[in-house]
C-alpha cells in the first residue's frame, strides 16, 4: 500500500483534518471520541462501495449498478433472515455476496465480450435489477429483517472500534495485497492504461475484467448487507444516494477516472472525507440545497488542486 501513497492520495486526509478542526470550532463535540468513531462506522458503508469502485475504475471502466446491487443484496439477505428458517438465515450474508458476484459477472460479460461501454451496460443492468426488485416486492418496502450477525457487522464494536470499519479496512488490505503483490493487480493497471497493448502482450483481458467486476459487485453487496444491518431492514431506493458519492470518493482520492493510476489508500481518505463533510453539514443544519452546492464546489476545488499540482500540460 505504501507505494500507492502519492501526494494526490494524501489530499483527502488533509481535508479530513481541516474539516475536523473547522467543524470543532463551531461544534466542540466534533472532537469527541464518540462522534469520531461514529463517523468511522458510517464511513465504512460508503467506503466499501468506493473500494469496489476503485478496482473497476483502475481498469478504466465504471460500475453504475452499485445502487441496485446494494439494494438487491439487502433485500435478499433480509428476506432470507425474515423467512424464519435458521439455515436460510445463516446463508443470508454468503448469498448476498454471491448475488453481488453474479451481477459482477453479468456486468463483465457485457463489457468484455460484447464490448458495450461499461457506463451504458452497468446502467442497463441497474435498471433490470430495479425492475426485478419492483416485481418482487410489489413496490412496497421489502419485508424481512436483519440477522444478529448483520447487526453486529453494522453496529457492533471490537477493541473500541466499529466492526464495520474493521471489516472495511480488512477488505481494503486484502484488495491492496491483490493489487500490489499479484499479476492480477499488474494486469489491472496495464489494462487501465492501455487495453490493446495489454492484450497484445498476452494478457487475458476478459478474465481480468470478470474478476474485477465480480469483486466490485461483492463490495457493493457487502455494503448493502451492512446498511441493512444498520437499519434492521432493507428499503426501496436505499442505494440511490450512494452512487455519486462513491465515484466522488474514488476521484478525490487521487485515482484517475481514465484508469491505470491511483489506489485504495486515497479511496479510504476520500470516503472518510465525504462522510465527515456530509455529517458536519448536517450537524450545522445546513439545508439540502446548500449541502448540494457545497458538496459540488468542494469536489471541484479538490480536483482543480490535482490539476494545479500536475503543472503545465505535456
Amino acid at each position: 500500500m505504501l507505494r500507492s501513497i502519492s501526494v494526490d492520495s494524501l489530499m483527502p486526509y488533509f481535508g479530513v483534518v481541516i474539516l475536523i478542526f473547522a467543524g470543532s470550532a463551531f461544534f466542540p463535540q466534533v472532537l469527541s471520541v464518540d462522534y469520531l468513531t461514529q463517523q468511522l462506522q458510517i464511513a465504512a458503508f460508503l467506503g466499501l462501495l468506493a473500494t469496489g469502485a476503485t478496482i473497476v475504475i483502475l481498469l478504466g471502466h465504471i460500475d453504475l449498478s452499485v445502487p441496485w446491487v446494494l439494494t438487491g443484496a439487502a433485500i435478499l439477505s433480509t428476506a432470507l433472515v425474515g423467512s424464519g428458517n435458521p439455515v436460510l438465515g445463516a446463508l443470508a450474508v454468503p448469498a448476498a455476496l454471491a448475488f453481488g458476484a453474479l451481477i459482477g459477472v453479468i456486468n463483465a460479460a457485457g463489457v468484455a465480450i460484447l464490448r458495450i461501454p461499461s457506463m451504458v451496460w452497468t446502467l442497463a443492468v441497474n435498471s433490470m435489477l430495479l425492475g426485478l426488485a419492483v416485481l418482487n416486492t410489489g413496490g412496497f418496502n421489502p419485508r424481512g429483517e436483519s440477522s444478529e450477525l448483520m447487526i453486529t457487522m453494522a453496529s457492533g464494536d471490537l477493541f473500541e472500534l466499529p466492526v464495520s470499519f474493521l471489516i472495511w479496512i480488512a477488505v481494503s488490505l486484502a484488495l491492496t495485497w491483490l493489487l500490489t503483490r499479484t499479476p492480477f493487480g499488474r494486469y489491472l493497471r496495464s489494462i487501465g492504461h492501455n487495453e490493446k497493448a495489454s492484450f497484445l502482450s498476452g494478457v487475458s483481458t476478459p478474465s481480468v475484467l470478470f474478476a474485477a467486476f465480480a469483486i466490485a459487485g461483492m463490495c457493493s453487496a457487502l455494503g448493502g448487507v451492512l446498511l441493512a444491518g444498520y437499519a434492521n431492514q432493507a428499503y426501496q431506493s436505499m442505494g440511490d444516494p450512494f452512487l455519486l458519492p462513491t465515484i466522488a470518493a474514488v476521484v478525490i482520492g487521487g485515482t484517475s477516472i481514465l484508469g491505470g493510476r491511483g489506489g485504495l489508500f486515497g479511496t479510504i481518505g476520500g470516503a472518510l472525507f465525504i462522510t465527515l463533510l456530509t455529517s458536519i453539514l448536517s450537524v450545522m443544519q445546513i439545508g439540502d440545497a446548500w449541502r448540494n452546492i457545497i458538496f459540488g464546489v468542494i469536489i471541484l476545488v479538490m480536483l482543480l488542486f490535482q490539476t494545479l499540482r500536475k503543472g503545465a500540460p505535456a
Binding site: L114, W121, S127, L130, I247, G296, L300, L303, K310
Partner: protein, 320 residues
C-alpha cells in the same frame, strides 16, 4: 440516395425501429391513432429528446455530461418564476431560461478546458451545484406557468402535435444547417482524433467549449419544454433525465467514444425509449413487471448494438 442511407445507417435503423414501435404502440392503445394519443407521446418524447440532444453535444466530442438532468431541473425552476405575467415578461423569461442553461454549459466547458479535468467528474460535481441552486429556488415543487402559452406549445396545430413540429424545426432549422458549419463538423473532428483536428488547424479549445455550452443550451430548452408540459417547477427531476439521456443517445447510434452519430439519432433514441415505456403501459403487462421489461428491452437493444463486435474478424478492432 443509396449513399445517403449507407452513410447514415445508424439513424436509418433507429428511425425504422421507431416507426415499428410507434405502430405497435398505436395499435395497442385503446384510443388508437388519434391526435390526443400522438400529442401526449410527442410531448414526452420531446422532453427526453431535447435532453438527449444536450447529451449528444457532450458525447460527440468524446465527453459526457452528467449534469444534463440538473440543468433541466434548474432551468425548470427558473421558468416556474418567470413564465407567468405579461407577454413581454414571458418572452424575456423564455430567453433567460435558455440562457441560464447555456451559462451552466459554459461553466462546465470552462472548467473542463481550462481546468484540464475529465468531463465525467466535472459534470458530476456541477450537477450537484445546479441541483442545489434549483432547490434554493424551489425547495418544494411549485410555481406557475402561463396556461395559454403552455397549451399552445403542448397541444397541436391542425392535428399535428406541436412537439413534433418543434422536433422538425430543430432538425431542419438547426441541425441540417449546423452540419454545414465549421463548428458543426469540427465537433466530429475533435471527437474522432484531437491530434488530427489540431493538425488540420482546428481550434480544439473553442470547439470543446462550444460543445458543452450547446449541451447546456439544449438542457435549458429541455427544462423549458418540461415547464410547459408540467406547468410546475421541480428540483427533483435530475437523476432520471441524466441517465435516460445517456441511454437515449446510445440507442440512437451515438458512440460514447466520440466522433460518431448525429442529433437526429439522439432524438430518435429518445423517442424510442419513450415509446417502449408507453408500449409497456398499454401492453397489458402487469404494472409491477413493467420496469423490469423496460430494463430488459433497454439491455437487449444495447446488447444488439454491441454484438456488431462479435462479427469483427480482427480481434484488435475491439480495442480501439
Amino acid at each position: 440516395m443509396l449513399d445517403y442511407v449507407r452513410s447514415n445507417r445508424r439513424e436509418v435503423i433507429a428511425g425504422v425501429v421507431l416507426v415499428v414501435l410507434l405502430a405497435g404502440y398505436i395499435g395497442t392503445h385503446p384510443r388508437g391513432a388519434s391526435t390526443y394519443v400522438m400529442t401526449i407521446w410527442a410531448n414526452q418524447g420531446l422532453i427526453l429528446g431535447l435532453a438527449a440532444c444536450a447529451q449528444f453535444f457532450a458525447v460527440v466530442v468524446r465527453g459526457i455530461d452528467l449534469s444534463v438532468g440538473a440543468i433541466m431541473a434548474l432551468t425548470n425552476c427558473i421558468a416556474s418564476y418567470l413564465l407567468d405575467g405579461s407577454a413581454l415578461g414571458i418572452g424575456f423569461g423564455m430567453f433567460a431560461v435558455v440562457a441560464a442553461g447555456a451559462a451552466c454549459g459554459l461553466l462546465n466547458g470552462v472548467i473542463i478546458v481550462y481546468g484540464r479535468l475529465q468531463p465525467i467528474v466535472v459534470t458530476l460535481a456541477t450537477a450537484s451545484i445546479f441541483v442545489g441552486i434549483a432547490l434554493l429556488l424551489r425547495p418544494t415543487p411549485g410555481g406557475a406557468i402561463n396556461y395559454d402559452l403552455a397549451d399552445a406549445i403542448t397541444l397541436d396545430v391542425l392535428g399535428i402535435p406541436t412537439a413534433l413540429i418543434i422536433t422538425g424545426v430543430v432538425i431542419m432549422g438547426f441541425w441540417l444547417p449546423f452540419r454545414r458549419t465549421g463548428l458543426g463538423l469540427g465537433l466530429y473532428a475533435l471527437g474522432s482524433s484531437e491530434q488530427a483536428a489540431f493538425q488540420s488547424g482546428i481550434n480544439t479549445k473553442f470547439i470543446r467549449l462550444a460543445a458543452f455550452t450547446l449541451a447546456g443550451f439544449f438542457g435549458g430548452l429541455a427544462g423549458l419544454y418540461y415547464s410547459f408540459v408540467t406547468t410546475t417547477g421541480d428540483a427533483g427531476i435530475a437523476p432520471g433525465f441524466t441517465l435516460n439521456s445517456i441511454a437515449a443517445v446510445v440507442l440512437g447510434g451515438v458512440l460514447l467514444r466520440g466522433g460518431v452519430g448525429s442529433l437526429v439519432g439522439a432524438l430518435a433514441g429518445a423517442f424510442i425509449l419513450k415509446t417502449i415505456a408507453s408500449l409497456m403501459f398499454f401492453s397489458g403487462l402487469p404494472s409491477l413487471a413493467q420496469p423490469l421489461f423496460e430494463g430488459m428491452i433497454l439491455a437487449a437493444a444495447i446488447a444488439i448494438g454491441g454484438a456488431d463486435v462479435l462479427r469483427a474478424r480482427n480481434k484488435l478492432e475491439a480495442y480501439s
